[in-house]
């Protein structure tokens, strides 16, 4: 059984700070990590591989430093990894990213299942998973919280809905995006780390995946950022003054209309 895990290297959201003077992100000392949702996707893939004697390939579209994340994936159970990297991919929106990943997958070959995290914590769109599946012409489920049964040909999964979940069955090839509740990702193993250190990461450029330049990076992105600005300042803002009791009195006055 061949499982591809699509992952993204992102800044560690909890360390990202706003510079109060310039209103931009203070990124010094912010670590790059494997998108947390993708960690869960990887763990689920490794569990499926262990149950069905398969192979897990970690795949990412990213800058050269994303190789570090791919090696981390190998230390946690992936068998091999592919880095799709090219300056031409810069500025890609989710449409162009899905296009790029589709072409990378066509280069990699056949697969049974693709697992992705539900969304990346920097972009937060949750669009690439469904977009990729649509391009590949395979069925997909988003927000999978549990795989109830799996076989060499298909699976039954719980996919989250706003009011609970639906239990859905499908056959491979297919794509799932997963949520954190699905599992607890494992810690890397010694054998895994040793394998990761020696692993040859496959590098694919835009030419290697036969990408049409008009469909990748900024040129390939139907959406375009035209303006970036700080969030609007809120109205009257006050840290209340006076003794504690006075402050509480003032607060209650302001809140009366909500009671």
């Amino acid at each position: 059984m061949k499982i591809i895990v699509c992952m993204k290297q992102v800044p560690d959201a909890k360390d990202v700070r706003l510079d109060p003077v310039t209103n931009t992100l203070a990124r010094e000392g912010v670590q790059s990590i494997m998108n947390p949702y993708d960690q869960h996707a990887l763990e689920e893939a490794v569990r499926l591989k262990e149950a069905h004697a398969g192979e897990v390939v970690a795949l990412t579209m990213g800058p050269p430093q994303a190789e570090e994340m791919l090696r981390q994936a190998i230390s946690c159970g992936a068998d091999s990894a592919v880095l799709v990297s090219d300056r031409a991919f810069a500025g890609a929106d989710t449409w162009a990213t899905a296009y790029t990943l589709e072409h990378a997958l066509k280069t990699i070959g056949d697969f049974d299942l693709i697992l992705c995290g539900k969304q990346a914590i920097d972009g937060d769109t949750a669009q690439v998973g469904p977009g990729l599946a649509t391009r590949l012409g395979i069925p997909y489920l988003t927000c999978v919280q549990k795989i109830r049964e799996s076989s060499a040909s298909g699976l039954v999964a719980e996919r989250m809905m706003d009011d609970g979940y639906d239990l859905v069955a499908l056959e491979y090839p297919a794509l799932l995006t997963v949520v954190k509740d699905i599992n607890e990702p494992r810690v890397p193993s010694i054998k895994g780390k040793m394998k990761a250190k020696k692993a040859e990461i496959v590098r694919l450029s835009a030419a290697d995946i036969k990408a049409d330049p008009a469909c990748i990076g900024l040129p390939g992105s139907p959406t375009k950022v035209v303006n970036v600005f700080p969030p609007p300042a809120r109205g009257e803002r006050s840290v209340l003054q006076g003794t504690l009791d006075e402050q509480i009195d003032q607060l209650v006055e302001k809140l009366v209309r909500y009671m």
Binding site: R186, V187, P188, S189, I190, K191, G192, K193, M194, K197
Partner: protein, 382 residues
């Protein structure tokens, strides 16, 4: 301080640290409260290959030595020495097989230990034989093709949770120090049962039970090494495993210092964080000095033991005494720095102080260790 670890050694430290931070620390208070064996955490450690660290490569391990185990166990100790003891005692049970077992015996047991499929335990201590190990009463008598064991072991770590037990029994009382032998007893062997779990002051996650042998029959090939070599193998086993206990002490003390400093920076009294006061600074400084010197001694001893297996005893005893005494002092001082909060169960330091005491007692009391060191000095200078 930089101890110039190799890449492989750093790998092991990183994995053990991740397990400690992500798996042990979040639930250590609960394990302590419920006296609960950390099976889930040990399974994760197995999956991370940590049980393979000291097992020879031909049996599925990494062929690591004393220093590699020390590095692993130091990290675990920072989290909880109850969990650390469960892990370390596993090797205590397995070292006799590695030291003296036949290739067939090693092939039978070591792969499962390396994969974490089975846990080990070591049975020496009895009600009337602690420091005076030669006073053990458990006997093993050869009856045809089987050894028959009778007796009771006391306070055995991993009792009831392990599957592979290394048991010391008297095979020929008349031969004195050459009258004991080591045997492998397996969970489920007829006549072998474990008592209920003891309630302890500390390391409550660790399982401590009696082992009861009543006409326990085991096949002849369960004898580890040659008959009569029991105490020699026991001494080598303990020499090998003591640095692990010392490392638990270093880790525990480090964890306690971390909590104390964090607290001292936050806690404001008399208009300042208390770390600004010399009295507190001096306490913390002495704690830090103790920890670093213990660490340096433990690392030095472990490396020495790896290179000079015939000259283990003094180094092993020294690092055990010093690091465990440091752990007791540092954890006590950590509670002191944290004052009332340090005493409350909501904060981890009271547990650390309760846990620390056992380090000065088990695997040879610190008094016995000083005897050993004294005797070694005597030999050295003659």
């Amino acid at each position: 301080m930089d101890y110039f670890l190799s890449e492989e050694q750093q790998m092991i430290v990183d994995i053990a640290k991740q397990i400690t931070d992500e798996r042990i620390i979040p639930i250590r208070a609960e394990l302590d409260e419920k006296h609960e064996f950390p099976r889930q955490i040990l399974n994760e450690m197995a999956q991370a290959d940590l049980f393979g660290v000291p097992i020879p490569e031909e049996y599925g391990g990494f062929g690591g030595g004393c220093f590699d185990i020390v590095l692993t166990v130091e990290q675990l100790g920072r989290g909880c020495i109850g969990v650390g003891t469960a892990f370390a005692a596993n090797f205590l049970g397995v070292y006799p097989i590695i030291i003296a077992g036949s290739p067939e015996m090693k092939q039978k047991y070591l792969p499962d230990i390396a994969s974490g499929k089975k846990f080990g335990a070591f049975g020496l201590t009895e009600a009337n034989a602690g420091s005076d190990a030669s006073g053990i009463q458990t006997t093993a008598v050869l009856d045809g093709d089987e050894w028959v064991l009778n007796g009771t072991k006391q306070w055995i770590t991993n009792g009831g949770e392990a599957q592979v037990y290394s048991i010391v029994a008297i095979t020929d009382r008349s031969r004195g120090p050459r009258g004991a032998s080591l045997f492998v007893v397996e969970e489920g062997d007829p006549g072998f049962t474990c008592g209920p779990k003891e309630k302890k002051m500390g390391i409550r996650a660790s399982s401590t039970t009696e082992l009861i042998f009543k006409d326990c029959r085991i096949p002849k090939d369960r004898l580890i090494g040659r008959e009569g070599t029991g105490f020699i193998t026991v001494m080598k086993t303990l020499d090998l495993s003591r640095p692990g206990i010392a490392a638990l002490g270093v880790g525990l003390a480090q964890g306690a210092l971390d909590e104390a400093v964090k607290y001292a920076k936050q806690r404001q009294q008399f208009g300042k964080p208390i770390i600004a006061f010399q009295a507190v600074q001096h306490l913390l400084a002495d704690m830090a000095i103790g920890i670093e010197s213990a660490r340096a001694l433990v690392y030095g001893a472990a490396k020495h033991i790896q290179a000079h297996p015939k000259d283990m005893s003094k180094a092993s005893s020294m690092c055990k005494v010093y690091a465990t005494d440091v752990a007791m002092k540092v954890t006590t001082d950590a509670v002191q720095v944290m004052g009332g909060y340090g005493y409350m169960c909501e904060y981890p330091t009271e547990k650390m102080m309760r846990d620390a005491k056992i380090l000065q007692i088990y695997e040879g009391t610190n008094q016995i260790q000083r005897n050993v060191i004294g005797q070694e000095l005597n030999k050295e200078y003659s």
